[in-house]
Symmetry: C2
Subunit: 446 residues, 2 copies
Amino acid sequence: MTTQTLVNNILKTSYADIPRNVLEHAKKSILNWIGVSIGAAYEPSVDMVLDLKKDLNSSEQVSVFGRSEKVDMLLATLTNGMASHIFDFDDTHLDTIHHPSGPVAPVVFALSEWYELDTTEALKAFVVGCEVELRISNAVYPSHYDLGWHITSTAGVFGAATAAGLLLKLDEGQMLQALGIAGTQSSGLREMFGTMTKPFHPGKAAQNGLLAAMLAKKGFTSSEQVLEAKRGFASVLSPDYDLNRVNENWGSQWELLKNAFKPYACGIVLHPSIDACIQLRDYAEPEDVKEIQVTVNPYVLELTGKKEPQTGLEAKFSIYHSGTVGFLERSAGEIQYKDEKVLDPAIVAFRSKIKPFVNKDLKEDEAIGKIILNNGNEYTVKIEHATGSIENPMTKSQLVNKFNTLAEPIIGADKVVDIIDKIDHFESLSTVNEIISLCTGENVLA
Amino acid sequence: MTTQTLVNNILKTSYADIPRNVLEHAKKSILNWIGVSIGAAYEPSVDMVLDLKKDLNSSEQVSVFGRSEKVDMLLATLTNGMASHIFDFDDTHLDTIHHPSGPVAPVVFALSEWYELDTTEALKAFVVGCEVELRISNAVYPSHYDLGWHITSTAGVFGAATAAGLLLKLDEGQMLQALGIAGTQSSGLREMFGTMTKPFHPGKAAQNGLLAAMLAKKGFTSSEQVLEAKRGFASVLSPDYDLNRVNENWGSQWELLKNAFKPYACGIVLHPSIDACIQLRDYAEPEDVKEIQVTVNPYVLELTGKKEPQTGLEAKFSIYHSGTVGFLERSAGEIQYKDEKVLDPAIVAFRSKIKPFVNKDLKEDEAIGKIILNNGNEYTVKIEHATGSIENPMTKSQLVNKFNTLAEPIIGADKVVDIIDKIDHFESLSTVNEIISLCTGENVLA
């Protein structure tokens, strides 16, 4: 009965049932998602996927974030869902390493744009879609992830179908079928990590979920117990699972509140070290620095010990580069991991001043930074929870700053200010299109 | 190295390397596939999928078998792949219960039509695509299937990507990427059996495989070891596997030769009983029959003991109905399982003359039929291998007859004759379009 109960929960949830803090967190998630999507809009893999439009003579229907092209809804969900995960800079439900907005937001925006939907409808579909995928992730994590499934897409397809189903106004029977059609498309292997196919996964989950709901609306039939059946999702894709997690405390506990935002465009294990180096900048100018000692858990250094990174991707696994940009630029956004930046002589020269040490008594989300100046002075900072953790979430102004950094080079400062303002007042806009129309346009720096 | 070796094998195989008997078997497979696709062209689920064209404003690009609509290549592969599996009357690789044409043929036809490709290119792509998916199925069967995966789609996506990759002329690196992008989309749960979503699976495998090859052609990156990696296809989707099966005896052993065709539109366990009843018809007219005793393995009767079927789907699990149509109509095609036929008074009345018996010494593919006439005469026939088994394959004329029965009501007799003739001379046609153009058109009986 897991699937049936879930559908009952999905359909009984009204906009008014969603607490204020959940709606506000949803709006932060949307702001963050739009930022990372626009920021990656001109990455090569986005060009490749959009090139399918030519191959298929497909129609101009809805927007691609950050670009001027319109494409049909299925291609748009694939493209936007993929773009948002390219920098690995999107949101994270830390309990399950699931990035919830990737599969759900593209569906909400595609349908809202094409059918000119209300903002409250869209916001509810986003929240409920995220709840569904995250609760399913809770039910199968960690054994499902450990086996090799990319949980963002395998569970995400259910969130995408749910959001699409709500916006397409499926009835109970149709919503059951939609989850079945979605679940049988569940896929995405962790073997693809490190390639363009990793971000392709949430895009495909968005696309498959939308397709599922569109077909269910037409009467397409499927299983009504995709989650719990003997040959259904949980049993086939997960060595262990607890399906109680799917529906327990529905309406009183909101998984979306555990959704965190990354301040830095690299693996989360480097974040405490970057925080430390940014804080140390208050004590000295670069030319006064003799060395900066960064002490971390041994596992952190094992993952991030790349001494002489040559590319942005390598630099994301380098405590030397990440500490350097944190100190010199007080930032570690996508710009700090561009290839040019990694090869910049001033950055390369400073890297040798970063001296990592390990201490197994430190947790993975802790770091100690100690700066030693040429004049012999020393200062020490301790990071107990990195910025962006549940205990120390990014502030609204940090999120706005991240959004600016990502979106401004692509769509320009004016639109960026407008988008931030409109997301603040999301519920009072007449349609979602008031925002979407600002999120597109030629690369202003191109 | 499994994936790399497979790509080497795929790319080194020339048309001239394919033995004559394999090419002939491929042409039979294609004839059978076109027949089951055209036959199901007006089923409700096909209407639903084609209705997506309206939702997406998608383009008129290539044909839907049996219909007048054209749709874009991705939607065409989904539609045609699905249609071909709706009657569960398509081909079967008996070793793995994999239906090989479903995921591969739609890709071959879509690309051949749009790019006006040569018939030899198309035939090679079909053969090599089928080899790839069937060898991958061999490697993971039976544990993969037993766990709950619909092997036709999970392994089929590799065949689809291979065929598409050959027709799009991918180089070695691109073909590796294509298999990676395909494998990460591998999906399809057996929980969906008995619903419209079961035939949706091979359609989706075709569509996903085509998408994979199209993206790989543009430079999209993926894993180069999707089959053998720790978090790759075999390890994640199959409790046990033997990857040696993928490449062993490549070029000397052809899995496609083990592809069988079903003479009757029901589960394979009923086929020996139907064969027996058809043979018994030579001994009597219906009005002379007192009873027909059909003796089968106990497991067969367990699956097919439905005494009073009310629908076509129920009749496919009824030895009473199946024996009756075999005797009265010397046939058990899709027409014999229409709802009207199942409720026809003459059929219903005769059903009580069919008396099943069990004998555990009979194998599942054996049956004994004994007819007792009103005048006391008795005749007995023994079926040792049902028609359509590897030991007793359908003859060319039986296949042609099956094709007629499926396609003629939809596209008319003239086109049917032409198609059969052109498939006979497939290699000497100028393009595949000479056949495709005959496979479309309004339902002549509509």
